[in-house]
């Protein structure tokens, strides 16, 4: 499997809204914690180290 970089999530607008809602009212530290947990949960769900490495590389691209 390789990292999907084309549109793959139909409800992306809804996800963006819900992601921001989840952060509403949180302190900076709480937001950081939420983001970190999300990354860890999603990494486990993806379950493929090669895909995760591609994602890391893409995120790190300037």
């Amino acid at each position: 499997m390789t990292l999907i970089t084309t549109p793959n999530l139909d409800g992306h607008d809804a996800f963006m809204a819900e992601l921001l809602d989840a952060h509403r009212g949180l302190s900076e530290a709480e937001s950081q914690a939420l983001n970190a947990q999300l990354i860890l949960i999603l990494a486990n769900h993806v379950g493929d180290l090669d895909v995760l490495r591609e994602a890391l590389a893409l995120a790190g691209q300037k």
Binding site: Q32, A33, A36, Q37, L40, I41, N44
Partner: protein, 516 residues
């Protein structure tokens, strides 16, 4: 009552009066690695002089957790029964976050193994057992209070300058084996530098004696209520002695921390007031190694070659595997049965293993002592998730435990055979009649036949193994027969389902040449 450290006799060495003839092997450092090295060589018929600057075994428990492979090696050296007799076997590691258990590891007992996955026993006991065996062996000349002060490493020999209570003398050796620990004098005099990472975090280590019924398990805590904001480790050793490691942070003052008025209240918070303090020390640690372990006629083993963080029991066990790897190779070279290039394979294989240990140790260290900022954030969130999601529990890293490295090799293999016993791996044990396969393999290279006849005419001892449930699981897999070539350190060299005598003969040559 703290351990009674007896002192061993110093005898003025002959070299003080007249120059000694050049020795085949001089070993520097009579810790577990140097002692085991001398014994392993002696069992192979190689004499050695073993030098130590002190005259007693190490103070404090130090390396306590000995792996199955180490127990197998100690058994070959004749001291495993003593270790099993008083050590604490264990197989379960529990990890807590706060006061809640978040991750449990069970290393299990397999009826196919004679040895338990781990035995905890203080390093001073291991050293005492080995010293007794060494003093009994006519091929080993153990010299206490002989301090190496200089080494000259030539291409054909190494020359040592040694200081004794009766003055200095010189020794010459075909091979000098540096087993003199993390602060190796041999390494320093040869201007060789460690490469890697050093950590500033300070840990308190204590041996405490108490009548308690803590189970024989490894207990690790992140942020326990009894030790504010830091980590703690409690482990049972031989006797009623427990080992406690407490993370103190970067700024702790080592001299202050070991004072009774400071250390006793700390320990009381963990185990209550009923204990006796046998030993206490403060340490920092490093994850570093030499670029090469073989420097002509000087060969480095154990902590003199590589040092790792302690969580994962990679120091003592790694050192014994260095011994295991080098002994048969050096003996074969000295006895003219193998070319000197065989020693290069010690460098290649043990560097590979040291790198595995360093990688694991650095990962565990970053998890245990994260830097402020994002490292701390992710560490804390893994721990938080572990309390609510099963997947995150094994992500908690309280130190991953030492497993024998599988050496890289291109040797013949067959896909029908199980991965566990692939070339490069330590041959797994299995019951054989009333004994064990590991004992039957002994300390020589061997051709082991399962359900077949070994090819005739090859210069290697042969063994026809009994086929039982464990053998089928560990050696046959999907095949009905197999032939294994096993090295003198019980590493699988090559294996076949249908062996051509020519292929076996080529693999045997590769074994003695140390080819990858």
């Amino acid at each position: 009552m703290p351990h009674e450290y007896k002192s061993f006799a110093y005898n003025p060495p002959p070299g003080l009066r007249t120059p000694e003839p050049r020795h085949g092997v001089v070993i520097v450092g009579a810790g577990p690695v140097g002692l085991a090295m001398a014994l392993d060589l002696a069992h192979r018929g190689i004499a050695s002089v073993l030098l130590d600057e002190g005259d007693r075994v190490a103070t404090g428990s130090r390396a306590i957790c000995w792996s199955r492979r180490s127990l197998e090696i100690l058994d070959r050296l004749g001291v495993a029964d003593k270790v099993l007799d008083i050590g604490t076997p264990w197989q379960v590691g529990r990890t807590c976050y706060g006061d809640q258990e978040v991750f449990t590891e069970d290393f299990g007992r397999d009826p196919g193994d004679r040895m338990p996955p781990f035995v905890n026993i203080q390093q001073y006991f291991i050293e005492e057992f080995l010293v007794d065996a060494v003093l009994d062996h006519p091929l080993i000349d153990l010299r206490f209070k002989n301090r190496v002060i200089d080494v000259e490493a030539g291409t054909e020999a190494a020359t040592l300058s040694i200081k004794t209570p009766d003055g200095p003398y010189m020794l010459e050796a075909d091979y000098l084996l540096a087993c003199d620990g993390a602060r190796s004098t041999v390494r320093a005099t040869m201007d060789l530098e460690f490469e890697g990472e050093m950590f500033e975090e300070r840990f308190l280590v204590a041996d405490i004696e108490m009548e308690a019924d803590f189970p024989p398990e490894r207990w690790f805590w992140f942020d326990p209520s009894f030790h504010d904001g830091q980590s703690a480790l409690l482990h049972r050793q031989a006797g009623n002695v427990y080992r406690l490691d407490l993370h103190l942070g970067r700024d702790a003052n080592a001299k202050q921390e070991v004072r009774p008025e400071k250390v006793i209240p700390r320990i009381e918070q963990v185990v209550g007031p009923d204990f006796e303090l046998d030993w206490v020390s403060v340490y920092t640690f490093q994850c570093r190694r030499l670029a090469r372990f073989v420097h002509g006629r000087v060969i480095f083993l154990g902590d003199a070659a590589h040092v790792v963080a302690p969580f994962g029991s990679r120091g003592g066990n790694g050192g014994l595997r260095d011994v295991d790897n080098l002994g048969w190779k050096l003996a074969a070279v000295l006895q003219g049965r193998a070319p000197e290039t065989l020693l290069e394979s010690y460098d290649r294989e043990r560097v590979q293993s040291a790198d595995e240990n360093l990688t694991q140790a650095i990962r565990a260290t970053r998890f245990m002592t994260p830097r402020p900022g994002v490292e701390q954030l992710f560490r804390d969130q893994v721990l938080a998730l572990a309390g609510k999601a099963e997947f995150a529990r094994p992500w908690v890293n309280p130190g991953r435990f030492s497993q024998p490295t599988v050496y890289r090799t291109d040797a013949p293999d067959d896909r029908l055979l199980p991965a566990l016993s692939r070339p490069g791996a330590v041959a797994p044990d299995a019951p054989q009649g009333s004994g064990w396969l590991m004992q039957a393999l002994g300390a020589e290279a061997r051709l082991v036949a399962f359900n077949c006849d070994p090819p005739a005419g090859l210069e290697v001892p042969k063994l026809r193994a009994e086929v039982n449930e464990t053998v089928r699981r560990r050696y046959l897999g999907r095949a009905d027969r197999a032939l294994y070539l096993i090295r003198p350190d019980q590493v699988v060299a090559a294996r076949w389902v249908a062996a051509e005598p020519k292929a076996v003969s080529a693999a045997l040559r590769a074994l003695w040449e140390g080819r990858e």
